[in-house]
């Protein structure tokens, strides 16, 4: 026990006396989490909160045109600029502005669009009750076309979303016009003077709910998603100083000295492990605290940790085991500090990409999603999401903890194997 204590003390003192190293170990992941969360928060807002700039050239200026404009404004998704004009140059100007990126979407509602809809409604009524209604010049096949033009950089998925929103407005307005036409004819037939109003509220409504047994009411946002993801990335960057520590010890000759001492090398390695795992846990704690107290100061949502601090500790511990052991493996694989730095940083980035830190694994292609399931960072992220978003406890996160711990054991064993190989070489 004394040997382990002195090993822990030695590693801790070596780290604490490297002030710049300590600063980088704690500060860099913090900066990374804040910057990435801010960036991701902005892109998140682009889709959900920031309004889409839209320009409407309304040559119709009748029921459909007005309903369309009001509907877009009331949806809250669009910042609407209106041009009410029948002049064709207005459309050309609008298209130009969209092409220049001033607006993301342009809409042209041609003249008489409302009339076309009304004519169709009348034609439908005329077909149904030909003896009563006889209006000249209406055609059941009459149709109108609304032109949509998009900024070329607009993504297909976004086009699809906005198109279906417009189709919904068009269909609602069309239904309303048809209903009103029918209503008017029925009034004529029944000699009633008060037309029936088109119902303002839909029959079918949608109820949206986040499915979770936890009742804390945590809404997923950029902070809830990014803080755990980038905490893990920061943790895995510990592999570089861990590997550096092992390689330095090898080059200084200290490792050779230790190998001539009657002590189990596992004790020495455990000393390193304890210190670096502690560093990872402190890193995680600091990042969580930044999420809770600093993010709101930067105008972002506060990180809601939930009430299960034990589960949070367990998943952080598992992640710290995995990250530190990965560093031990690299330290035994690499022969120089440069190799360790390059391999460590690139492999951390790769594991992050595969694990769903950059792109959530739900939007990955099938093959990548399957690969992602074998990434320790993915296990960590899933564990954190369970704690942060679902309010899960130890019983729900223990599979992730076990996977991370098994990964750690495999790394240590592989490291020992390579160390033996190096010695024999």
């Amino acid at each position: 026990m004394r040997k382990l204590a002195v090993s822990v003390y030695k590693e801790a003192v070596l780290l604490l006396r490297d002030f710049e190293g300590i600063l980088m170990l704690f500060l860099m992941p913090l900066i990374l989490v804040v910057v990435i969360t801010l960036l991701q928060d902005k892109s998140f807002q682009n889709i959900t909160e920031k309004k889409v700039q839209i320009i409407i050239v309304d040559a119709d200026n009748d029921s459909l045109g007005i309903a369309f404009r009001n509907g877009l404004k009331q949806s809250g998704m669009f910042e609407v600029t209106e041009i009410i004009s029948t002049d064709s140059s207005a459309v050309v100007a609008a298209k130009k502005q969209v092409a220049e990126g001033k607006f993301q979407i342009g809409i042209f509602i041609p003249q008489n669009t409302t009339l076309q809809v009304k004519n169709r409604a009348v034609a439908l009524i005329q077909r149904q009750i030909p003896n009563v209604v006889q209006t000249a010049g209406v055609n059941i096949n009459s149709s109108a076309t609304i032109d949509l033009f998009f900024d070329p950089v607009t993504k297909d998925s976004f086009k699809g979303i906005t198109k279906s929103t417009f189709m919904q407005f068009a269909a609602n307005t069309e239904t309303k016009i048809i209903f009103e036409s029918y209503s008017r004819f029925i009034d004529v037939l029944t000699n009633q003077s008060t037309p029936i109003e088109f119902p303002k509220t839909p029959v079918i409504n949608f109820n949206e709910d986040l499915v979770s047994e936890y009742t804390g009411g945590i809404l997923p946002n950029s902070v809830q998603h990014n803080v755990p993801a980038w905490t893990l990335f920061g943790m895995f960057l510990i592999c570089i100083p861990v590997a550096g520590n092992i390689i330095k010890e090898r080059y200084d000759g200290c490792l050779s000295r230790i190998q001539t001492i009657p002590v189990n090398y596992l004790v020495v390695m455990t000393g390193k492990f304890v210190v670096f795992v502690s560093i990872c846990l402190v890193q995680a704690l600091l990042i969580v605290l930044v999420g809770m107290y600093v993010m709101p100061l930067l105008g972002m949502p506060e990180l809601v940790v939930g009430s299960n601090w034990f589960a949070l500790f367990v998943i952080s511990l598992g992640s710290a085991f995995a990250a530190t052991s990965f560093g031990l493996l690299i330290g035994n694989l690499a022969t120089t500090q440069i190799q360790a730095s390059v391999f460590g940083s690139i492999s951390a980035v790769l594991l992050a990409a595969i694990g769903g830190v950059w792109i959530p694994n739900m939007v990955m292609p099938d093959l990548m999603r399957r690969i992602s399931e074998f990434s320790p960072m993915n296990w960590g992220i899933q564990g954190y999401y369970k704690v942060f978003l679902r309010g899960d406890g130890f019983l729900q996160i223990y599979p992730e903890f076990i996977k991370l711990t098994v990964f750690a054991i495999v790394c240590v064993l592989l490291g020992a194997l390579f160390k033996k190989h190096l010695k024999e070489g």
């Binding site: 004394r2 002195v6 030695k10 070596l14 000759g253 050779s256 230790i258 190998q259 001539t260 009657p262």
Partner: protein, 258 residues
């Protein structure tokens, strides 16, 4: 782990026996050590001399269990290096050519760390560190970080780190390389005292003058083989040379090896 003192006493005066020792490194056709035969007796101050690449460090590394043996056998204090290294480690001290110390730790912290790994009791270790630091003129600097030490001071701390557990057999690989005259003199003096008190020393060096003064027996090796082995005075007589350096040049030739 307790040292088997009974076993120590039953061994004869041979403390090191090397038989047909051969080492091939991967990818090399020529052996680094080629059927080497050596016997070192208890109390010897044994010089293992040779030009660069002769196989000195490889031989010592195999004796200390740092690298595996390709062929042959090494026995230290009666234990086979390949099967009983854990027992041998209690009896040997190793002072490598590298300054195997943590430069951000103080001299005391370094020595306390290595001493504790040797399972030396806390109070005894403290006393031993203080005593050795004093003996090698470093007591005033015990709390200074190693990175602030001069080359000679580092060498002295490096030497102490290999002596804390009072080994029966001490391996010294170039202990005076890169040190000033004062440090060199102090180290030489202390090593002589250590040897006179019963510690067997196996010593490699390029300093023929040091070897001539310090060693009771020397083996000059080249291309992994022992070229000659005897006391410095006998070798000088045998090869009709005035100095050990001249014997060395006569045996190994004058061509540089680097």
């Amino acid at each position: 782990m307790k040292i088997d003192k009974a076993k120590d006493t039953v061994t004869n005066t041979e403390i090191v026996r090397v038989e047909n020792l051969t080492k091939f490194y991967k990818g090399r056709v020529e052996p680094a050590v080629d059927n080497l035969e050596l016997i070192v007796n208890e109390g010897d101050f044994f010089g293992l001399l040779g030009p660069n690449g002769a196989g000195k460090t490889t031989t010592i590394s195999m004796m200390c269990g740092l690298i595996p043996i390709t062929k042959g056998k090494i026995e230290i204090t009666g234990y086979d290096v390949q099967t009983n290294m854990s027992m041998i480690k209690w009896h040997i001290g190793v002072v490598a050519q590298d300054i195997a110390l943590y430069d951000k730790l103080s001299a005391y912290e370094n020595l306390n760390y290595f001493g504790t790994l040797y399972s030396i009791e806390k109070e005894i270790l403290k006393k031993k560190i203080t005593e050795l630091l004093f003996r090698l003129g470093l007591e005033k600097f015990k709390d200074e970080k190693i990175k602030n030490f001069s080359g000679g001071m580092k060498r002295r701390v490096n030497l102490i780190a290999g002596l804390l557990h009072e080994p029966k057999l001490l391996f010294l690989d170039e202990p005076t390389v890169g040190v000033d005259v004062h440090s060199r003199s102090l180290i030489r003096e202390y090593l002589t005292e250590l040897n006179q008190n019963g510690t067997t020393i196996i010593y490699t060096s390029h300093m023929m003058e040091d070897a001539e003064i310090l060693c009771s027996k020397v083996a000059i090796i080249d291309y992994g083989k022992v070229k000659c082995i005897d006391s410095p005075s006998n070798l000088m007589m045998q090869y009709e040379c005035e100095t050990l350096e001249k014997v060395f040049l006569k045996v190994t030739g004058h061509s540089p090896r680097d």
